[in-house]
């Protein structure tokens, strides 16, 4: 009888230690009100917001500070217009090809390849196919920017990962790659 009690006590002890060690639950907090922000935090869940999400899309017709309006629509005609008329607002002193390369390698190189020949890691792994080499495509700075802004066919838009200035930096770098291929 005594043995049985001992066994039960040991199992309960070990069991409780194990259950307290649950990796899928956060730990205790000492004075939790020191941990939790009074203000709304990024990605927080609060009743005041639609869908209780702090993360919201900006209302239509508004522009973030420091951005300018991109007036070409996301249509075939818009693409053609941008290809002809849209020009890089950065002058040669503002274009920073080192930063352009950094950004290009993060966002574009994964498919288009770091040399722009369409041989990125995802293409080599046969995850995404049919990525063209910049050398074979008739692109201008306007059309490059337009495609980064809206995406085209299977390519998505990168306007939320790159801001306006960064998009133009990447555009300049893509033009450099295209010139190097040809």
């Amino acid at each position: 009888m005594k043995g049985l009690i001992k066994i039960v006590v040991v199992t309960v002890l070990i069991g409780s230690v194990y259950s307290c060690n649950d990796k899928s639950k956060p730990n205790y907090q000492y004075f939790p009100n020191m941990y939790k922000s009074v203000g709304y935090e990024t990605y927080g869940e609060y009743e005041v917001f639609p869908g209780e999400q702090e993360a919201l899309i900006p209302p239509s017709g508004t522009l973030p500070r420091g951005y300018s309006l991109y007036e070409y629509p996301n249509t075939n005609e818009g693409y053609d217009m941008a290809k002809q008329d849209s020009k890089n607002p950065l002058d040669s002193t503002q274009i920073d090809l080192v930063r352009g390369k950094e950004l290009y390698d993060i966002y574009c190189g994964i498919c288009h390849g770091n040399k722009g020949k369409g041989q990125g890691k995802l293409v080599k792994n046969e995850k995404i196919l049919g990525v063209p080499s910049y050398g074979t495509r008739d692109v201008t700075e306007g059309s490059i920017y337009h495609v980064i802004y809206y995406g085209i066919n299977s390519m998505g838009s990168y306007s939320n990962q790159l801001n306006e200035e960064e998009r133009w930096q990447v555009t300049a770098y893509v033009q450099k790659l295209k010139a190097e291929i040809n």
């Binding site: 990796k23 899928s24 639950k25 956060p26 730990n27 205790y28 907090q29 000492y30 020191m34 941990y35 939790k36 922000s37 009074v38 990024t42 990605y43 869940e45 869908g51 999400q53 993360a55 249509t75 075939n76 390698d105 993060i106 966002y107 994964i110 369409g118 890691k121 995802l122 792994n125 046969e126 995850k127 995404i128 196919l129 049919g130 990525v131 063209p132 074979t136 495509r137 995406g151 066919n153 299977s154 390519m155 998505g156 838009s157 990168y158 939320n160 990962q161 790159l162 801001n163």
Partner: protein, 460 residues
């Protein structure tokens, strides 16, 4: 095939010539020859038709499907798949389908591929129908593809669908050895357990037999000695009690300290996320840069939980998982997770359109600093140029993400004391860097010497 056709043609011509000569020679005196000529002409005409029909069908199959596959993957696969509607229609047996359903021949396809916009403008009915069916997505013109290239591509699309042999996870080598070693370990343990049980039983039996033997032989085993119990002598010894008490106090103090110090520390926290996202596959196997998805880490306080449109940058094309699997996470599991993404973002994979019905994914936040400490990702990421792995650990190996570092103040401070700041290519601060180095008498400045230990940097 071409050679055969040439032979056919030369034979055909020589035959015709011969018959014609016969006709000329005999026309004047023998009317039968006319009949012969008619007969021969009809024969030849049917032969010609037959030949044309054969050559047309032969023509459709020439071209090298292997070369075609390479061309297809580099030029077409961005928008077309063989068996699945993507930006453009599925292309398996496109030539046959067009011929059967629309009565359009290969020349029409060539014209479409080389300049679809021109074909649409020319008012071609089917061209306009396809253009409108796919939401007015303009197909890139491919004037650089030669007839031979296009024939190769069409040969590739004409191939029958290969039925994939579904390999069971156990067929995978890596898993087999893994499972094998697990099983053998368990087996060894079980065998050892049984061995010990047998030994214990053997000893007990030996003891029992010996006792019975002694009893049978009337041997006196001696009386049970009436010794003082161990605990009683322990209680009576006051020095031992004191030592034990100190010992227990120290031990419990140690554990109490350890317990209190880990309150609020979530190192190793590994919640189950609503969609199983494997950092190992994305950042490890496919080497996607951390900042591709967590783009705001470059420029802002929060590193950013990627919005679902970033997932869809790739998963619009990648609708199934074809990488390495384990017994726990097989292909069906990963494909199911991609389906969950589609449901959340409201993407209809069949029609390749957004339905507009989306439901946000409630990701569970892992890394969470208390409100009284301020931390901004852009500082170490963009200014110092640290690798994300410095704080987040080997994320590219994590099937399930967990918190690698304790994120305590001591941990922050320690790194600031040890890490040299990046002074290279930082011309603006050159002078102040030089002066600070002189002040501290060091070659390389650490973050701490730059003021990285000031309370107000993080607590305000």
């Amino acid at each position: 095939m071409l050679l055969l056709q040439v032979i056919f043609i030369t034979e055909y011509f020589s035959f015709m010539k011969k018959s014609y000569q016969n006709f000329e020679d005999n026309s004047t005196n023998n009317m039968k020859q006319v009949k012969y000529r008619k007969f021969s002409l009809r024969f030849l005409l049917t032969g010609l038709l037959f030949f044309l029909a054969i050559s047309a069908s032969l023509h459709a199959q020439d071209g090298d499907p292997d070369k075609g596959k390479a061309l297809f993957n580099t030029n077409c696969a961005a928008c077309h798949s063989l068996d699945k509607k993507m930006t453009g229609p599925a292309l398996r047996k496109v030539e046959q389908r067009l011929a059967d359903d629309q009565g359009l021949d290969r020349e029409w396809l060539y014209a479409w591929i080389r300049n679809s916009a021109g074909l649409i403008k020319s008012g071609d009915a089917y061209a306009n129908q396809v253009f409108n069916e796919y939401g007015g997505a303009a197909m890139t013109a491919f004037p650089q593809l030669s007839d031979e290239d296009l024939a190769n591509i069409l040969a590739y699309t004409a191939k029958e669908k290969e039925i994939k042999v579904i390999s069971t996870p156990s067929g995978d080598d890596g898993i087999e050895t893994d499972g094998g070693s697990g099983v053998s370990n368990n087996l060894i343990l079980a065998a050892l357990g049984i061995l010990f049980a047998l030994l214990a039983m053997g000893l007990y039996m030996v003891n029992k037999t010996l006792r019975r033997f002694a009893e049978a032989n009337n041997l006196d085993l001696g009386p049970e000695t009436n010794r003082k119990p161990l605990w009683k002598s322990f209680v009576e010894n006051q020095f031992l009690i004191l030592v034990t008490a100190i010992f227990f106090l120290l031990i419990s103090g140690y554990y109490a300290y350890g317990f209190l110090m880990q309150v609020g520390v979530d190192q190793g926290y590994q919640p189950i996320q609503p969609i199983h996202f494997s950092h190992k596959i994305h950042a490890g196997d496919n080497e996607i840069d951390c900042k591709y998805c967590h783009s705001s880490a470059r420029v802002s306080k929060a590193s950013g939980i990627p919005s679902l449109n970033i997932c869809m940058n790739c998963h619009k094309s990648i609708y199934e998982y074809n990488g390495a699997t384990t017994a726990e996470y097989d292909k069906a599991f990963y494909d199911g997770e991609i389906k969950k993404l589609y449901a959340a973002v409201g993407w209809d994979d069949e029609s390749q359109k957004y339905t507009g019905e989306s439901s946000p994914v409630k990701w569970i936040r892992i890394h969470n600093l208390p409100d009284f400490a301020y931390f901004n990702h852009s500082q170490p990421v963009s200014v110092a140029g640290l690798q994300c792995q410095t704080c987040h650990g080997p994320v590219e190996e994590m099937e399930i993400m967990y918190q690698y570092s304790p994120l305590t103040m001591g941990w922050c401070i320690n790194c600031h004391r040890e890490t040299n700041i990046k002074v290279k290519d930082n011309g603006y601060y050159e002078k102040i860097h030089a002066e600070l180095s002189k002040k501290y008498g060091v070659d390389k400045l650490t973050a701490a010497q730059m003021g990285g230990l000031e309370c107000g940097k993080c607590h305000y």
